[in-house]
């Protein structure tokens, strides 16, 4: 009770000291708030990009955990498939907890050919009845988004994929191929045995782009991929597992690795790389038969995570420099404040306040200012981030669009970012105040009083 009272007195004195120098306090608070707001905004960009990456990756090419396979009849002849899809699926189902959905995906790579243009893309073979998550996440584009004289309404339906020889493509692709719903696209590929093969598909829906990645993927019924590559019904390309809790990806992958090993499967060493990057390694290795490869969604987009890392690094450097400037300002302000209040400090020391008490007094002052200002800054940053995202501001530069993998600015600010920024700024302020406060606490009371 007493120590609470003593502490309250310290808080009162500290607060009063802040109020007594309003200009200084306000400037400092403004600076702290601005840096905090920037910190929140930068983190928002980084988090928005991360979230976007995750969403596009998990929509287009990967589950939270993925089981895929390589089959080799000779050491150099690589086919990306799981021979006995049903068995692999049973093992996955028996050993995965917390799965929301487990789907089979056939994987291939083909040239998309129309009368007007040709482009390359990954071809994902799906069973649309099973793919409820995909059907949920893919937003269809209005026709006017990809055809100049198009209607301002959505044409087509993802469920069209349940019909044979169909395809869902993305708006960017539709524009380049000059294709709309109902048009035919020829898919051409080489089978894994080296023959050229084609299948004609009809576009049943055009989805909105999901950043850069969606240029490189289309969806077709599984059968189309099997036909393209002349594969047996028994095979599957990959099993994609979606979890309730994405943070458990690593754990689930490890459990599944153990399960497959105990079922006498041979596994590839875990490499944090996307599936397609592994072909070369695998064909260079001296083995034949079936091997499985397990990855998490992070592995599958590892070739893009440098973007997030780079964003984080830039943000960190910028904020670091700003924080140092602010900290120097804070320290300077604290020096002034200590000098102004030296007689009063001498007095309280003479009456019997300990050195620790004096330190605490300044610590509380820095803490109050740091906390209030950074909270305000974080609130401002969050509001600005929300406003930017809501305004759907188009990203003006192609380079930035490519880096952020998005066409509009999306900033995601979570509690974690806000708390992180507030705690970081408050700590920096506390540290900056420490040295002047420490000096003040070491002074002889009489020196202080007569200063």
């Amino acid at each position: 009770m007493n120590s609470i009272n003593r502490f309250l007195i310290i808080v009162r004195i500290a607060a009063r000291n802040l109020v007594q120098a309003p200009r200084r306090t306000l400037w400092l608070a403004l600076a702290i708030a601005m840096v905090t707001a920037l910190l929140v905004l930068f983190q928002g960009i980084s988090e928005g990009t991360r979230g976007h990456l995750l969403r596009s990756a998990t929509t287009l090419s990967a589950g939270h955990v993925n089981v895929s396979g390589f089959y080799k009849t000779t050491p150099t002849d690589v086919t990306p498939l799981i021979e006995d899809g049903a068995r692999a699926r049973r093992i996955v189902e028996e050993n995965t907890t917390g799965a929301v959905q487990i789907v089979d995906r056939q994987r291939g790579f083909a040239s998309l050919i129309t009368a007007g243009a040709t482009m390359q893309a990954g071809v994902a073979g799906v069973d649309i009845e099973d793919e409820t998550i995909l059907a949920d996440v893919l937003q269809l584009a209005e026709e006017s988004e990809y055809v100049d004289d198009g209607r301002q309404e959505v044409v087509g339906d993802i469920q069209g994929l349940s019909r044979p020889n169909t395809a869902v493509i993305f708006a960017g692709q539709a524009r380049r191929l000059d294709a709309r719903v109902g048009d035919t696209i020829t898919l051409r590929t080489q089978t894994f045995r080296g023959q050229a093969n084609t299948v004609d598909v009809t576009v049943v829906a055009v989805a909105q782009d999901i950043g850069l990645l969606s240029n490189f993927a289309i969806f077709v019924p599984s059968r189309v991929v099997l036909d393209l590559y002349d594969l047996s019904d028994q095979t599957t390309g990959a099993l994609l597992i979606y979890l309730e809790d994405i943070d458990r990806s690593e754990e689930v992958m490890d459990t599944l690795r153990a399960a497959f090993l105990s079922e006498d499967y041979t596994l590839l060493e875990h490499q944090p790389e996307p599936f397609f990057a592994k072909f070369e390694t695998v064909s260079g290795e001296d083995w034949t038969g079936q091997r499985l490869d397990l990855t998490t969604w992070e592995d599958e987009i590892s070739f893009l995570t440098w973007i997030v890392t780079a964003l984080d690094t830039i943000a960190f450097l910028l904020i670091g420099i700003l924080a140092i400037i602010i900290a120097v300002g804070m320290m300077n302000t604290m020096w002034i404040s200590v000098r102004e209040r030296t007689p009063e400090l001498g007095t309280v020391r003479a009456i019997g306040m300990t050195r620790t008490g004096v330190l605490l007094l300044f610590a509380v002052e820095a803490f109050l200012l740091g906390l209030a200002a950074s909270l305000a800054g974080a609130a401002l940053g969050t509001a600005v981030a929300a406003a930017i995202t809501a305004a759907q501001i188009p990203i003006p530069s192609d380079a930035v669009r490519a880096i952020l993998l998005n066409d509009i600015f999306v900033l995601v600010v979570g509690l974690k970012q806000v708390l992180g920024a507030v705690i970081a700024m408050t700590l920096v302020m506390g540290l900056a105040a420490f040295f002047p406060a420490w000096r003040a606490s070491r002074m002889q009371p009489v020196e202080a009083i007569h200063r």
Partner: protein, 239 residues
Amino acid sequence: MKPVVELASVDKDYPLGKVTVKALRNVDLTFYRGEFTTVAGPSGSGKTTLLNLVGCIDVPTSGEVRVDGQLTSELGDRDLTRLRLEKLGFIFQAFNLIAALDLYQNVEFPLLLQGGMTRKERRTRVLEMIERVDLTPQLRQRPNELSGGQRQRVAIARALVTRPRIVLADEPTANLDSETGRTIIDLMKEINEDQETTFIFSTHDPMVIERAGRIVHLRDGQLVDEDTNSDSGDARGAP
């Protein structure tokens, strides 16, 4: 008679550029329990310096200072702080109240630092002390809303509220008109008699000197003379 403060061969030098100011020279002096002593002397004679040493807010260049039996040079900062808080009350020449706190809180402050009292006990003690210096109507005023004499009385209340053994007052009447000054000295005298508190003042004010039980004269940092006022006396038991 029980000694409460003892100074033995105390020197205090202040380095001032290339020269050294000898503020106190070879001072041997003992103060006893319940004494009401004035340290008199012209400006610059070392009065404040002497009080600061006794008050443990400064250290002698050489010699020994004992407060309540403890040799101050042997105490670390923590113990000295404790000693100041528990045994000493300091009334500064410039009042030195805490601007952030109101009258009540200023007086309560040392009790909060001490700890160990319930809220109710503390409140009773603070109100009693404020009543004694006749400031009850100004309870919630801040220092800048008080007159000089009122502030001086707050400073006295703050110094006395912990019931210290020794009260040090540096020119307690210098900022007051003679009427207020007299009231304040009489108040301190009363407390001196009630509680056997040892009072040590510095002053040039003849009115104060006249009321002291014992007068110590300083000149150029040296003890030159000592008187007792038989008519005013102090709270010491008669020898």
